[in-house]
């Protein structure tokens, strides 16, 4: 799409776009390029310029079992969070879309969790799940040590999975509800006339019609879980116990800022970037399709 009527004063055009270009160059393109450069070089221990080492950093990353652990945990985290929060939000959206009494209040309250800072969500869940107080700690009355996310890695992972799913559920609810509201009422009414009950209409009319939104949300949720888990992890488990919640971004942070190994952190950044780019391309291709059909 192009404008037929445009302005001629190109100085204004340049002046208007320059600040944005400077910003993205300084804080996006240069750092991204720098990550690529660091990932292919090594800083010699006694100073001097970086030396090109080819793919050695990547080989080091791939040879590190801790890295693969963090990848596997990130994948588990991303998939469970996505399924849990999209599934939960879908059930709520389907029922809220029936517009029975009180539906406006529900619709208003459901998405509030998304506005809560991840660090606050993390602390709230850490308190709820803390072994010596809170709620799940009561399980320890049944059997001492039954519940302790500060010792048990899987319980710690479960804790951040639930926290992230809780936060994302509100977000997913907004999109699913918007999608359901755009399903033409006559379609649903026709199904009702043909004798399809409420639940059957949900299953066979509404859900299939909003599959594009599901696809979109799957991509967004998975990308988000890969990238946006840092705040929650840092205030709850700090990657522990014994690396059980050390997801990919957290490991980049630890390697880059705690161990000061820029090359290793940069190589991991590049891998994560590629992963995110693939996801984003998937998403754009899908957006294109949706524009065609709607």
């Amino acid at each position: 799409m192009e404008k037929r009527v445009t302005f001629n004063n190109l100085w204004i055009a340049a002046a208007f776009i320059a600040p944005q270009l400077f910003l993205v160059f300084t804080f996006f393109y240069w750092p991204t390029g720098q990550a690529l450069y660091w990932s292919l070089t090594l800083e010699p221990p006694f100073g001097g310029g970086n030396q090109f080492v080819g793919l050695q950093n990547f080989k080091a990353v791939f040879a590190d079992p801790h890295y693969w652990d963090s990848v596997i945990r990130s994948v588990i985290f991303a998939i469970t969070v996505t399924l849990l929060s999209v599934g939960f939000a879908a059930v709520l959206a389907l029922f809220a879309d029936r517009n029975l009494r009180g539906h406006q209040l529900y619709k208003f309250l459901y998405f509030l969790p998304y506005a809560v800072p991840a660090a606050a969500v993390g602390l709230a869940f850490r308190f709820t799940f803390t072994p010596e107080a809170g709620f799940l700690g009561a399980l320890n009355h049944l059997h001492p040590g039954l519940w302790d996310p500060t010792r048990n890695g899987w319980q710690a992972l479960l804790q951040i999975i639930l926290g992230q799913s809780w936060k994302m559920a509100g977000y997913n609810f907004i999109f699913l509800l918007a999608a359901l509201q755009s399903v033409p009422r006559p379609v649903i009414e026709a199904a009702a006339m043909d004798g399809a009950g409420v639940l059957r209409r949900m299953r066979e009319i509404q859900l299939p019609l909003i599959t594009p939104t599901f696809f979109f949300l799957f991509v967004i949720n998975i990308t988000d879980s890969f990238v946006d888990s840092f705040g929650m992890i840092d205030v709850t488990t700090k990657g522990g116990p014994s690396r059980a919640t050390e997801l990919m971004v957290y490991k980049i942070y630890l390697d880059g800022f705690e161990s000061k190994d820029y090359s290793l952190a940069a190589a991991q950044s590049i891998i994560l970037m590629l992963l995110i780019v693939v996801m984003t391309v998937l998403q754009f291709r899908f957006v294109e399709r949706r524009v065609h059909y709607s």
Binding site: L23, T26, W30, A124, F135, W166, V227
Partner: protein, 303 residues
């Protein structure tokens, strides 16, 4: 729809209510825990009937975490990011849509690609840039100077660590808003531009008097989204603020809210939860007051 389904209606209400309980429970627990005294909050399980110590705990958390200053910092950052986004993205979208020059689409893609990679995946090199914001330009000059030695210049250092600029600028450097404005500008009727030009309005006048008033809705939506997003940032602030005793954002402060298990004492959960409550209230208020804009902004920025 005219349909009698009493059983399923009952189920609907039950499901919706259960969903509400699950989604509100963590928020409610924070408030309840913040209202207990130290002894009650450490009972397991904690009593669900709120205690009478809410104000006391809020005051203790406020003073203990220096929230007066911390909240101010966060407000400045959140407003700064929202304002920066609104202004810069309106300007760049205007340049891309309303002018015709060869590099136009190149610029559009340069800005658009930044949508792909969030700050979190390039933290280490971005941190290096924040330590000296002129280092990219020094790098460019050095690269040129290796070809033409005459132009070798030493730029001064511009350290953004522990500054508002350092907290704000990298968060502004993405395409979210530009794309939103571009889509909107494309829907503005050509006749408006024609009429404005016929009346002798130049580009600046048209931008200021016609386009900006028309995009109020966009601005509100983008502003609300960006305010909440910036307020909730955690990773970038803890990197760019190295002097955390004197300069801190609200979310960062939470990492210090739970004192460790020193001397085997249980953590002071009641004031920690009071701190959590204080930190999550501003974005919640913004979202509650501006729900319409928030939802609209969310749906249109993600498209």
């Amino acid at each position: 729809m005219v349909e009698r389904t009493p059983l399923i209606n009952l189920l609907t209400h039950a499901v919706l209510l259960l969903g509400l309980v699950i989604l509100m429970a963590p928020l409610a627990l924070v408030v309840i825990a913040a209202s207990h005294d130290f002894k009650t909050v450490n009972l397991s399980p904690m009593p669900l009937i709120p205690g009478g110590h809410l104000w006391e705990n809020l005051r203790a958390a406020w003073v203990g975490n220096n929230f007066g200053q911390v909240m101010f910092t966060s407000l400045v950052v959140a407003f700064g990011v929202a304002a920066g986004k609104i202004i810069l993205s309106a300007m760049s979208a205007f340049s891309i849509v309303y002018f015709r020059y060869r590099l136009r689409m190149v610029f559009f893609w340069i800005i658009f690609i930044t949508l792909m990679l969030p700050l979190e995946v390039r933290i280490v090199p971005t941190y290096a840039v924040a330590a000296n914001a002129l280092s990219p330009y020094q790098g460019l000059i050095d690269a040129l100077a290796s070809l033409v030695p005459a132009i070798s210049i030493k730029l001064p250092e511009w350290n953004l660590l522990n500054t508002y600029q350092g907290l704000i600028l990298p968060l502004v450097a993405t395409a979210t808003g530009t794309f939103l404005y571009r889509q909107f500008f494309l829907t503005v009727p050509e006749e408006l531009t024609e009429a404005a030009r016929m009346d002798g309005a130049g580009a600046l006048r048209f931008f200021w008097d016609v386009l900006l008033p028309l995009s109020k809705t966009n601005m509100a939506a983008l502003g609300v989204i960006m305010f909440v997003w910036a307020w909730n940032q955690y990773l970038w602030p803890i990197l760019v603020v190295t002097d955390q005793n004197h300069f801190s954002t609200a979310t960062m402060q939470l990492s210090k809210a739970v004192p460790g298990l020193a001397f085997g004492e249980p953590p002071v959960w009641n004031t920690a939860m009071a701190a959590t409550l204080i930190v999550m209230v501003p974005p919640l208020i913004v979202v509650i007051l501006a729900q319409r804009w928030f939802v609209r902004g969310l749906i249109s920025t993600e498209k």
